[in-house]
């Protein structure tokens, strides 16, 4: 893992250079490419563990590159783009990218996401039997009901009993929206009355523990005016 090789693809040389240096400071080996075609060439000759990829590039754009890579490899791909619309993110993720970061990005967040993706990628080999009924996996989020344990990209997370129960409920029903009342009644097992604040506070705490950027959560999302859900990834 220390010598993980990362491919940074961006047509802007300064940005590519900056990312290179940021990642090198973390001890990764970095190779740069300035367009999609170059990236594909490098992938053939080098054993790359993760790709940071811009979308708007000459010759071959990021989305097409992602599709080409996905046809042969399942290495993590983090898309880095100035396009901030939800529709752009959804498109990128559906093309096979594992994460989507918008420009201008927070350098520390980029590093954190790279680390998280790498951890997941490296550990995937160990998890041969993830489909056990006691184990739930959503993206890098892993919950074991037998061990009563939650890990994010392999890192264990310390949750309180209520937090764990909420997360378990939402992860078991990934993609389904729960209202605060429903969550309260299932987790606290009491009649719900004016519980929005209580539930929301717990949601926020869980987010702070499992999300890299709690302000832009990847897993645990608030559906404004309706409820809460774990994104189905």
């Amino acid at each position: 893992m220390d010598n993980a090789k990362i491919l940074v693809v961006d047509d802007d040389r300064e940005i590519a250079g900056a990312i290179e240096k940021l990642l090198k400071l973390e001890g990764y080996e970095v190779i740069k490419a300035y367009n999609g075609l170059e990236a594909l060439d490098i992938l053939v000759t080098n054993a790359i563990q993760l790709i940071v990829l811009d979308i708007m590039m000459p010759k071959l754009d990021g989305l097409s590159t992602t599709m080409r890579i996905r046809s042969s490899k399942n290495i993590p791909i983090i898309i880095l783009s100035a396009k901030t619309e939800d529709s752009d993110k959804i498109l990128g993720l559906s093309m096979g990218a594992d994460d989507y970061i918008t420009k201008p990005f927070n350098p520390q967040e980029l590093v954190a996401r790279v680390k998280s993706q790498l951890r997941r990628y490296m550990q995937l080999g160990d998890m041969g039997n993830i489909n056990l009924s006691s184990q739930i996996m959503v993206g890098g989020l892993f919950l074991d009901t037998e061990k009563v344990q939650v890990t994010v990209d392999g890192e264990p997370v310390r949750l309180t009993a209520k937090e764990y129960k909420i997360l378990e409920l939402l992860m078991k029903n990934a993609g389904i929206v729960f209202s605060a009342e429903q969550i309260y009644e299932r987790v606290w097992e009491e009649t719900a009355y004016s519980v929005e604040n209580t539930v929301m506070v717990h949601i926020r705490r869980i987010r702070e523990k499992i999300e890299i950027n709690p302000k832009e959560p990847k897993y645990l999302k608030v559906v404004w005016g309706i409820g809460y859900k774990i994104e189905k990834l």
Binding site: D12, L22, A82, K103, P107, Q108, N197, W224, G225
Partner: protein, 600 residues
């Protein structure tokens, strides 16, 4: 001196006095005239000194006396009773007399002699001859008694002594009134300050109405004179006549005031060249002719440059069609076979009208399509522009942020570290501004995708407040909520509305007076819900709600270093995109945002 005179002559007081005097003089002259008429004084007598030289003497006294004499002579049965004259009449056979011829001839009163069909009066007589003639064989002597002549002379003298001063009085009054009227005509409308003609409110009345009113007033005056004027044949003025004089005098004064006002108004209008223009006849004629003209000189179609030809054609079509119908009916009524002609012409007209209109419609459609295409194109360009500029701004910003981060990891002096921290702060802020700016640009240009779904506004507010709990606690403010127990169902985009409320509450947290409360309330009524967020500002809000919503305007005009200043603008624009209404009220230190939605 001249200026002083001008000021005096044009002053309102002078004018008013002159006007009043005019009215007084006219009324006085009129009253005097009425008195004269009551005295039944014959104006003929005014020009003679001797009664016997007057026409009245011949026409009245002499004539009457002759009639009496002839009557007596030809009808002997009638008793003679007049003692005013002496006469002698004979036809050669009969003679009637009340005095001998000698006595008559000796009298020093005027003598009238009729002989051989002719009137003979003394050679140097100063009186006229009668104008009646009798058979030639008649011979008549006639003269009047001394007493009668003296009495008549006395009456004449009395009348003259009364009448001459009266007439002089009337003349002077009339002359003075005339002078004042001329003066008023000259100065009316002028002020001492300038040489302009000043019209007053009364002058805005149509000229025709003024003239009609004047005529009406004159009519009333005449009717009063007719009703209250009569002659009584005594020399005394009766009490009834005094009453009538007062009556007529009052009416005359009022009527002359009215006529004076109208006259001066008309004069002012003439001076200002508005006499005709200010009349109803002229105005209506002008409007009608203008309306008709407007059809010919394109003014009627000025606002419709694209359909000008069509509208002109349409009017022509309607007009000629009406004409055709008229002629068809005329010919039909006259049982003329010509009645078939107008319908045929009408068909030709319809064909022409349709054909020309089709061309015009095609052109309009084409033009409209082109303009729509153009608009679409420019809309697309706008979106592309926002996207491109967004990319062009974000790319260098990404480099800046990344290298600032790298720089901060280097071994740096303390000062350099401070600088790097400032750079980090500012680039972070720039990032927010750019992001806000593009959110705003997208939402205002209508290119923001919106996911409408059924949401609970109450829940949304609770979630937002819970989400911002840390910020609220940090600010030291208290948020007081007043939300209903039941859900408030609205149809909107929850994620964007979260942005709206987040921005507003963020704003209140930034600009509220420490220790005060922020109120978040909802009001439901008739299918609508209003979310009201109120706070007390920590500074004097010397701006209007419009200003605070203008992009880049900040609550405090002295810009601080946090935020982009776009929060409220984004909130407003997003609310609009989400189908709600957004209103800001500022009342003293109270800052209030009201957001309205339709519930269902």
């Amino acid at each position: 001196m001249a200026i002083k005179l001008k000021n005096f002559s044009r002053s309102t007081g002078t004018k008013f006095t002159a006007f009043l005097l005019t009215v007084i003089f006219i009324t006085a002259a009129f009253e005097q005239l009425v008195i004269l008429s009551y005295r039944s004084i014959n104006l003929d007598l005014l020009l003679v000194n001797e009664y016997q030289t007057s026409d009245y003497f011949i026409n009245h006294d002499v004539n009457n006396a002759l009639n009496d004499i002839i009557l007596l002579f030809e009808n002997p049965s009638i008793e003679a009773n007049n003692k005013n004259y002496y006469y002698s009449i004979t036809d050669g056979e009969r003679t009637y007399f009340n005095a001998t011829v000698e006595k008559i001839k000796q009298s020093d009163t005027p003598l009238f002699l009729y002989e051989n069909g002719e009137w003979i009066i003394g050679e140097d007589a100063d009186y006229g001859t009668p104008y009646v003639y009798y058979p030639e064989n008649y011979k008549i002597y006639l003269t009047f008694t001394k007493e009668f002549m003296v009495e008549r002379q006395q009456i004449l003298d009395d009348s003259k002594s009364f009448m001459i001063p009266s007439i002089i009085f009337i003349s002077i009054c009339t002359l003075l009134a005339f002078i004042f009227i001329v003066y008023l005509i000259v100065v009316t409308g002028k002020k001492s300050a300038d040489e302009e003609i000043h019209l007053n409110r009364f002058d805005s009345i149509y000229t025709d109405f003024q003239l009609l009113f004047g005529l009406f007033a004159v009519g009333i005056w005449f009717s009063f004179i007719r009703d209250y004027y009569y002659i009584n044949y005594t020399n005394r003025v009766t009490a009834e006549q005094v009453f009538h004089m007062v009556m007529l005098g009052t009416v005359t004064a009022i009527i002359s005031i009215l006529l004076g006002i109208i006259l001066l108004s008309l004069v002012r209008k003439i001076k200002a060249a508005r006499f005709l223009k200010q009349s109803l006849i002229y105005t209506s004629c002008y409007k009608i002719s203008d309306f008709v003209k407007s059809f010919f000189d394109d003014r009627r179609y000025a606002h419709y440059p694209l359909t000008k030809a069509m509208q002109r054609r349409q009017n022509l079509f309607i007009l000629t069609s009406a004409g055709m119908v008229f002629f068809a009916m005329l010919f039909f009524a006259a049982e003329s076979p010509l009645f078939i002609l107008p319908p045929i012409l009408e068909f030709i007209m319809i064909y022409w009208y349709q054909k020309e209109n089709k061309i015009a419609f095609d052109k309009i459609n084409q033009g409209l399509q082109e303009s729509l295409d153009e608009q679409m194109k420019s809309e697309r360009m706008k979106v592309a522009l926002v996207t491109n500029v967004s990319h062009d701004l974000k790319t260098p910003l990404t480099s800046i942020i990344s290298y600032v981060e790298l720089l901060s990891k280097e071994e740096l002096s303390e000062t350099a570290k401070d600088y790097v921290n400032i750079l980090a702060d500012k680039s972070e802020r720039l990032k927010h501004i750019v992001s806000d700016l593009f959110d705003l640009a997208k939402s205002t240009s209508g290119n923001m995708p919106v996911d409408f779904e059924s949401i609970d506004l109450k829940k949304l507010l609770e979630q937002t407040l819970a989400d911002m709990e840390d910020d609220i606690t940090k600010s030291g403010l208290t948020v007081k909520t007043k939300l209903p127990d039941n859900p408030i169902r609205i149809y909107s985009d929850g994620k964007k509305l979260y942005r709206v409320f987040q921005n507003i509450i963020d704003n209140t947290l930034k600009y509220s007076l420490t220790g005060t409360r922020v109120y978040v309330e909802t009001e439901e009524s008739q299918g609508n819900v209003n979310v009201i967020i109120k706070n007390t500002a920590s500074y004097e809000m010397d701006f209007t709600p419009e200003e605070v919503l203008q992009r880049f305007n900040r609550g405090d005009k002295a810009r601080t270093t946090e935020g982009s200043g776009l929060g409220l603008s984004i909130a407003e624009s997003f609310t609009g995109v989400c189908g709600g209404s957004f209103k800001v009220d500022i009342d003293g230190d109270l800052f209030k945002v009201t957001i309205g939605f339709r519930t269902y």
